[in-house]
Symmetry: C2
Subunit: 338 residues, 2 copies
């Protein structure tokens, strides 16, 4: 029972290994006689046979494994993305192998090396920073590679993302429509396309409306609640004419900011409006429920998986797909104080 091979199955069924192989293959079992096929399957079950995927992969030249690289597993918006990837891959008989970079380029390089050594059939990357461009270009030249969530302009690597510029603009328009004229944005790392896009979309719309926008850069490498805390202190201290609304580049930053605002006695949305990004599950459950921009994570993951596994077919395998963002208005935004 320890290690049953095809040979064992073939012997028990009284056929050659090649026949056994065919009988067990979903694609070629039509060419083997129903009777022998049954006896092979029976023998396989009796012995508890299980294809050795490693050996199979070696022979066929495909492993059936797709590498998935994320920056931070704890970031709640990544859950749906992973799920979308896993479902799409599972439907095609593939298995995802998930790894985390903690947004470190060194980690990313090491992980790519490992995945390539595993001869994965494709790689989905959601952790790309500008500095990784040449590395990822090399990777993409060796194995089908798709960027998900985060694009990497100029890399030539196909991407499935959503329109961060429009997302930023939606946030701006919402605040403007409520009457805000002085706003600030708490920015995620600007060497990541998603955040740069959000920043531009937001700022441009604010400026175009003749309102003023203060940009606050977070210091931490990871855009977490802690990063939000650090930066709001800064904001409230520094600005002489403080904003009436804040756009946080993701929900975690927003939640961190919310805490500090409260400590400063500022209620949300009465004293300060706050809008986040991603629409992670918890945003609906905190108080006040967070207004945010929805990122269609599951869809992104699904499409990325489909793209990476469609090796060169009719599909483009290059260029980029962008889904549309959507604003979710909840309780954290309102009219500016008089």
């Amino acid at each position: 029972m320890a290690n049953v091979t095809l040979k064992d199955v073939a012997e028990r069924a009284g056929v050659d290994v090649s026949t056994a192989s065919r009988a067990l293959s979903p694609e070629k079992n039509s060419v083997v006689a129903p009777a022998t096929r049954r006896s092979v399957i029976e023998a396989a079950q009796a012995l508890g046979y299980r294809t050795n995927l490693q050996a199979s992969a070696l022979r066929r030249g495909r492993t059936g494994i797709v590498g998935v690289i994320v920056a931070d597993i704890s970031n709640p918006f990544i859950g749906p993305v992973i799920r979308g990837v896993a479902h799409a891959l599972g439907g095609r008989g593939l298995l995802p192998i998930m790894t985390e970079t903690r947004d470190s380029s060194d980690e990313l390089a090491q992980i790519c090396e490992k995945l390539l050594a595993q001869r994965v059939d494709g790689i989905i990357i959601t952790a790309a920073r500008y500095g990784d461009r040449s590395l990822l270009r090399r990777v993409a030249s060796e194995v089908p590679t798709v960027l998900a969530v985060r694009e990497l302009p100029g890399s030539g690597i196909p991407s499935i993302s959503h329109d961060d510029v429009t997302g930023g603009r939606l946030a701006a328009e919402h605040l403007l429509s409520l009457g805000h004229r002085r706003v600030a944005q708490l920015m995620g790392p600007q060497d990541i396309w998603s955040f740069e896009g959000r920043a531009h979309g937001f700022r441009d719309a604010i400026i175009a409306a003749g309102a003023t926008c203060t940009d606050i850069r977070t210091l931490s490498r990871l855009p977490t609640a802690q990063a939000g805390r650090e930066v709001v202190d800064d904001l409230l201290a520094r600005v002489e004419d403080p904003p009436t609304a804040i756009f946080a580049h993701n929900d975690s930053i927003a939640i961190g900011a919310l805490g500090v605002l409260r400590e400063h006695g500022l209620e949300c949305p009465d004293d300060m409006s706050l809008i986040g990004y991603n629409d992670v599950p918890l945003t609906a459950h905190i108080h006040p429920a967070l207004t945010t921009i929805r990122l269609p994570g599951y869809e992104l993951g699904r499409l990325a998986a489909e793209l990476v596994t469609s090796d060169g077919d009719a599909e483009p395998r290059s260029g980029k797909v962008q889904l549309a963002p959507e604003i979710v208005v909840r309780a954290s935004t309102g009219r500016p104080p008089p």
Copy 2:
């Protein structure tokens, strides 16, 4: 550059493949002459050679891959566990392959099948329910298997967990010490050991103190914020003499409950104390900051990975390890209303 094999390297270095193999092996490169070794390494670099781990695995009988099975990637407490696993495995040159069951036993069965077919060197399971006992026993008989976070009593499978009974007791003692005499617990699924342990530890301590404990079972299969919402409505409607404190079996349930309480005009902790479980990152940032029981996720993951990779050494490879829980007192608990 497409697919450089050892043969290519050997030819370029003017040696046999077997010599090339030895020269590149960290363990056996001591037996090859320094000069040839250098020329082999040089050739490998020049050609961009990368070991084919599939072929290597086939030959050696070990894949260097460990399967990691979680119930719900979106559950924030799992992040540190995964990180602990990944670090420990990475340090040993192994690669984790992560999968999600969404707490479905069917999914679990399918995933185990796939992992076994991949000939993983070990499996770490954090998604065990009582109903999975026989399945997991079969799995454990084929490959080193370790349960993490959730034990499975009577399965004989080694586990790295923490002491949920004590965790429940800590929650109870904290509430009792604040003067609460009528309390309720919002229970996670009781076919999962962690939640059953918390339930018993809590209830026993409450009863022993002569106080009263109302058990509320969540309906959802997954212990999420939504589950917390559903159940608190129930609690507030049903109990004639309502509790003054609530123990939620995890932080997500607690956060869901918090929202409903607020909608009912109940402030926390003034009208109702609330204590969660797991100490996920966000609990410190919501309002009020949540009192909770800390689960040492990173440590659990690390130890599980170490155990699953220590095949039969001096180590026990059976029995269970339990880490100690710890209470984190924040703002969501206080004295009961007069």
